[in-house]
């Protein structure tokens, strides 16, 4: 919104103040994430911009914290704890995240398909239950699961963590897929059925391709939730279940070494990639459903 030519000086001044405020807020949002990146390449073990770094001295930068993150402990100058835990954590997080996402997506599609049908008794109540894991504070969810999973011998097992993360991811899939189904033209499935397709085939050939963007973005949300989840892991995970967030948590609690910042940098870059994918998917979905971007 540009300023009209007839704006008074006061309006002009206010306009620039307003733009400055907006710039500061946006700066406030991204600044910490950006600041982490250069510090992760620092030689020094302190989490700050050293004077050498500000002078752009090439001696002040190194990849040592990235090497340490990968479990390479050969660097003689490192005094902080160095272990394979980051790699194990990343592997575990991926493993748990992928399976939990697959489960959550499958269950979530079922729920969304059911909830989007024209006749559905107790639609509101069921929707509320489906979304409830998003509403209940994690600490309460974790406490409840701790007692319940202890009874089922699921504490300190991968199965327990996967089930818990599936529950946390489910609402995201339900929300996104239900949203995609809002604009879904039911006559398409009817047409497919009249042409002789069975319900399963119709689903995979007609419905699925159209709701796919919603499914993928829901799955991404579910994955990122699992990948970023720490409270439940702390409550029901055992010593074997080191996940990436858990490793970060213990890193933050004990001593923050720049290794954490290198992990953080990688995760920031990963999040930018995910963001791009979701944004592209959203546009594609709107295009497929014939909604013009406003």
């Amino acid at each position: 919104m540009a300023l009209p030519a007839y704006a008074t000086p006061a309006q002009r001044l206010w306009h620039y103040i307003y733009l400055t405020i907006c710039a500061l807020v946006l700066f406030f949002l991204v600044m910490p994430l950006i600041a982490v990146i250069p510090i992760s390449f620092s030689v020094s073990p302190f989490l700050q911009f050293t004077p050498e770094m500000l002078r752009l001295d090439p001696e002040a930068f190194s990849l040592r914290w990235y090497r340490m993150m990968m479990g390479d402990c050969s660097d003689p100058g490192i005094t902080t704890v160095c272990s394979d835990n980051w790699k194990t954590g990343a592997k575990n997080s991926l493993f748990i995240g992928v399976i939990a996402t697959a489960l959550a997506t499958t269950l979530g599609i079922f729920a969304a398909l059911g909830l989007s049908r024209p006749i559905m008794p107790f639609r509101k109540l069921i929707m509320a239950i489906m979304i409830s894991p998003l509403i209940v504070p994690l600490i309460i969810t974790a406490s409840g699961m701790f007692f319940f999973f202890a009874k089922l011998n699921l504490v300190s097992t991968y199965a327990g963590l996967i089930l818990a993360h599936t529950i946390l991811g489910l609402p995201f899939v339900v929300i996104t897929v239900t949203a995609t189904l809002v604009g879904f033209d039911a006559s398409l499935t009817r047409a497919a059925a009249s042409l002789g397709g069975g319900p399963v085939r119709n689903f995979f050939k007609v419905q699925m391709p159209l709701i796919l963007p919603g499914v993928i973005s829901g799955a991404l949300f579910a994955f990122i939730t699992s990948f970023d989840e720490v409270v439940i892991v702390l409550f029901i995970g055992g010593p074997d279940q080191i996940t990436l967030p858990r490793q970060m948590w213990s890193g933050i609690r004990q001593e923050i070494s720049p290794t954490i910042l290198s992990v953080a940098t990688i995760l920031v870059i990963l999040s930018i990639c995910l963001l791009t994918v979701v944004e592209l998917l959203r546009r594609r979905s709107e295009r497929l459903r014939g909604i013009r971007p406003a």
Partner: protein
């Protein structure tokens, strides 16, 4: 069909001759069934692994049965006491028997109203070194018959017949030992190792012999020790000092075997002569308690069944609730102030530019929470980026601002983390307001400020309402951020729940605090549903 009387109205028929109404109903029913069939698997999944565990947690907030299992005789007799003077010998005897004898496990009916204090079985003494059989049968003759032992024998056989690797069988055997104890006592985590061993060799039919009784006695004794420990922790919540009193006296009471117990117990620990301890026992009598809820708001029951304040040094929770509310409020207002202009800018800029700026909003939203917290630690700490910059700009080095591990830190970090939750709903509402409205208002003579206040702002209120409630709901249950950057005076109620879950193990109190928190959140959620509707919840 065709020769129906012409007077009646011909029902509409479908192609296959069924009345349209029936056919429609049938197809509607089929559609409904199909919908239910689709929803059922995820619904059952959530109900069984999420809703039931949460409900289960909430029942813990009122559950006080453990102490009733421990002190059945005492609670059966305490009503006769006047609650003012020191109790008579009979009550001392009751608590002595409850704490040190195993008779309560052996008498078949001994819980709450069904305890009979006049039953001679309470006073039967089992000799410490045996023989155990006769005494135990005297307590309750049902132990004589093999059928009483059969259920635990069956449990034991599950462990014996377990298949699998060495480690799996060992685990199974251990679980079976817990199960045997859980059958005999209210404890789920005491293990009956001796019984497991002898039950393996028992054939399940012959009359139970001394070996079985010995194992029963020994396992029950160790289980009782465990139960005394647990229940004295519970008694300590009612009156501080109870745990050490029980611990100390149970050591000394081993030597006491003859009445009178009153003098012996007071000699063992003089706190038994303090009426206050007895009075606090009265408040623990009911198997359901509201005590944890009262504790969560710094109140407690006194001996006359009135609610009173906790002693001053134990009042922490009201302050914590208040702080949690305050932090959530500050964070919500802070987010609103910061989000409003940015949302406006995003909504009014041409799409090309606003898309780029939108990335600034969405990037933190997609980044791991812990990464954002680490980033803020780098920014805010004593030697952090902000303080370094301030020093470079001329702040004296010794005046570095403390922005971490305190209230300020929690608020700053929470605002940044929750800001996208405020921007997105406000933005999506502002997007729908045509810019011509403002222009029209100004054309009609309103100065820009007035036009904004009277025309633009009222239209954004649905978005503001949604954002405010959403941020408040998320903020009030926060745990990770205050735990990591909050330090001592930035802790919120969520941290207290975690503390009681993991450190102090006062699960009843944790559950009570969780229930209050959950009730508040559900109320806000209900309001959110009224304003926005959960169906309109959008992501990204």
């Amino acid at each position: 069909m065709t020769n129906s009387p012409p007077a009646s109205v011909q029902p509409l028929l479908t192609a296959d001759g069924i009345p349209l109404k029936t056919s429609l109903q049938r197809s509607m029913r089929r559609s409904k069934l199909r919908a239910i069939f689709l929803v059922l698997p995820p619904l059952i999944f959530l109900l069984s692994l999420f809703i039931i565990p949460i409900g289960n947690l909430l029942t813990r907030s009122t559950d006080d049965t453990l102490i009733n299992y421990q002190l059945p005789l005492t609670f059966a007799m305490i009503d006769q006491w006047d609650r003012k003077t020191l109790p008579e010998e009979n009550l001392f005897e009751a608590i002595y028997l409850d704490l040190s004898s195993l008779n309560k496990y052996l008498i078949s009916d001994n819980f709450a109203d069904s305890v009979d204090p006049n039953d001679p079985a309470w006073r039967v003494r089992i000799p410490k070194k045996g023989p155990y059989r006769d005494a135990m049968i005297e307590i309750d003759p049902r132990w004589q018959s093999a059928s009483t032992w059969l259920p635990i024998h069956e449990i034991a056989m599950i462990g014996v017949n377990a298949q699998g690797t060495e480690r799996e069988r060992k685990n199974k055997a251990r679980r079976v030992q817990f199960k045997i104890c859980a059958y005999l006592t209210p404890l789920t985590n005491a293990d009956c190792t001796k019984l497991y061993k002898v039950l393996q060799v028992w054939d399940g039919a012959s009359e139970p012999d001394e070996a079985l009784f010995e194992a029963l006695y020994k396992d029950l004794r160790s289980a009782n020790k465990f139960l005394v420990g647990k229940s004295s922790t519970r008694m300590n919540y009612g009156k501080p000092g109870f745990k050490s009193l029980i611990k100390k006296s149970s050591r000394k009471l081993k030597k006491v075997s003859e009445p009178p117990y009153r003098d012996a117990m007071i000699k063992a620990d003089k706190r038994w002569g303090d009426v206050a301890f007895w009075q606090s026992l009265v408040t623990m009598q009911e198997p359901q308690t509201t005590g944890y809820y009262l504790n969560a708001v710094d109140r407690k029951w006194n001996k006359d069944h009135e609610i009173e304040l906790q002693p001053a040094e134990r009042r922490v929770y009201v302050m914590l609730w208040w702080r949690t509310f305050l932090v959530s409020l500050i964070v919500t207002v802070g987010c609103l102030i910061l989000a409003y202009p940015v949302s406006h800018l995003l909504a009014t800029l041409p799409l090309r530019y606003s898309n780029i700026l939108m990335i600034c909003v969405l990037m933190p939203f997609w980044t791991s929470l812990l990464v954002r917290i680490v980033a803020w630690m780098v920014m805010l700490q004593q030697e952090g980026v902000i303080n370094d910059t301030l020093v470079m700009l001329g702040l004296p080095d010794e005046n570095r601002l403390p922005m971490m591990y305190n209230f300020t830190g929690t608020v700053i970090v929470m605002i940044q983390i929750l800001l996208p939750f405020m921007i997105l709903p406000i933005y999506s509402v502002m997007k729908t307001i045509p810019p011509s409205y403002m222009k029209a208002a100004q054309n009609l003579g309103a100065p820009p400020a007035l036009a904004f206040l009277r025309v633009y702002m009222p239209q954004t209120l649905p978005g503001v309402g949604a954002g405010v409630i959403l941020v408040f709901i998320v903020a009030i249950g926060y745990y990770i951020t205050p735990e990591l950057v909050g330090g001592k005076d930035g802790r919120l109620i969520g941290n207290m729940v975690a503390y009681h879950m993991q450190k102090s193990l006062n699960w009843g109190l944790a559950a009570a605090m969780g229930s209050i928190l959950l009730a508040g959140i559900l109320l806000l959620y209900w309001i959110y549903d009224k304003i926005v509707g959960i169906d309109n919840m959008k992501l990204g």
